[in-house]
Symmetry: C2
Subunit: 281 residues, 2 copies
């Protein structure tokens, strides 16, 4: 499978996500309607919903109702979205377009883009605390998401990446950048879902290993695509060569399947995600 | 009392706050040391620690050991600090100095300032979830802090304030701006401490009323100072005149004392805070 069609899994989640902003956290004053519209502009900006899907499909692989993972999926998508809004700002990547549309600050201004990003991060933690209020592992969940999002995770990875651009990064540093910048948030989709699904210790261990492998696999297939498109980025594909990188990707996919075979629920969704990633390069 | 001397209350808190960044959430890679240094530059930037103090003194007024409020105080100070770093950026207030020192982006660059703010917000929720992991009201606490920080609180107030600058704000809107922009975070210091102290319902009610009054009182005394210094801002003091504003402040202080008299712990700290605010104008 080389297309992205998970609409039956995603449609009910989209409705949930939309309701969070309009009913669970509505604007406290009419003059804020436009600011909410801005958050929606970016949150419903045509992304693949890779992270929410990973939450939903992990719940299914654990034999659970996927709706239990919706609040986690929403929170992680809000964090991912805020990071994109901030990344696009002139003081970082200075991008005018994302997914074929003007970036947030091009439509709403830099000041509002900065604040919309800040607001989405707060809302992410609001949704977790509000929707999992009676969950026995709430503290672990929030702690893990905060770690994955913050300076010991995604933000730390962005900083490392920016510093590394000033000189050629060595392999160890490159691994660290990937692990933090994109790996941490992908990993928490799987680990966090195991937590909200009250998975057993052995299931949690499987999920952690699978999440780490998938995060790494997605990163190196991104690198490979960049390399094939002739981008001059310093990445794994440039460092070890595209053939060796493809071999590595195949190995990771095989190992991922092996891990999924040990799960007791419906693993077909996660397996197709692994295949999608392998076949896109 | 018209000086700010709460060093005996604040010194042990400063040690705690410093330890959070160095031991509870240390940098995951040596290349991130400088980024941590930047967060510390702003977090230990010579502020009055008004919000942490409010947490500490509220715990004492409730007859509890103030150390129980430290993680809440740290989280709120991190949120306050991130908002200042972002406020100072060129796309918002474009300030070069704060408290007599260069602002974050003047020292570390705009990109790092943006990311340091983002990181401090994540860390705030990390500290709450990590340090109150066994607290029975963790979900209420995190939800309330996220609400106070996000688009339904501080960030929403900043947005409203920026929109209002474009035309003269009416009184109702001005009240809303204060309530959200500064009031929400001040109020959660008092309400949140009541929550972590496992206060009774009647104590929580007292704390909520006191926090709302103190937040408003601080805002209007700020307004009064701005007005006296000839600033052309649209605020309460300009709207209703300085004399009426002073009367209002006196009334709020009196009512605050009345609320504090109903608490059973050591209320001397909170009372002196109310007096400090009254006498500075």
């Amino acid at each position: 499978m080389n297309t992205w069609d998970y609409s039956s899994d995603l449609e009910p989640f989209e409705k949930y996500l939309s309701a969070v902003l309009s009913t669970e956290a509505p604007p406290p004053h009419k003059d804020l309607f436009k600011f909410w519209e801005g958050m929606e502009y970016s949150l419903f900006g045509g992304g693949k919903r890779f992270r929410p899907l990973l939450c939903i499909l992990t719940a299914k692989a654990l034999g659970k109702d996927p709706t239990v993972a919706y609040p986690l999926a929403a929170a992680i998508e809000m964090i991912h979205t805020y990071s994109l809004i901030h990344d696009d700002l002139p003081c970082l990547d200075n991008d005018d377009e994302r997914r074929g549309r003007p970036t947030h600050h091009k439509v709403y201004g830099e000041d509002m883009a900065l604040l919309a990003g800040d607001a989405l991060q707060s809302l992410a933690f609001f949704v977790l605390a509000n929707d999992y209020k009676d969950h026995p592992h709430l503290s672990t969940l929030i702690k893990s998401v905060a770690l994955a999002a913050g300076p010991q995770g995604m933000v730390g990875g962005q900083v490392l990446d920016m510093l590394a651009n000033q000189e050629a990064p060595i392999e160890e540093l490159l691994k660290k950048i990937h692990e933090l910048k994109t790996g941490a948030l992908i990993s928490i989709c799987v680990r966090g879902t195991a937590e909200v699904c009250l998975a057993s210790d052995s299931e949690k261990k499987l999920c952690k290993e699978f999440g780490d492998k998938l995060g790494l696999a997605f990163q190196i297939s991104d690198d490979l695509q960049d390399h094939q498109e002739g981008e001059e980025s310093k990445n794994f594909a440039c460092l070890v060569g595209p053939e060796k990188t493809k071999d590595w990707l195949r190995l990771l996919s095989k190992e991922s399947h092996g891990l999924l075979d040990q799960m007791t629920g419906d693993t077909s969704g996660l397996k197709s995600l692994v295949e999608f990633n392998l076949q896109r390069v």
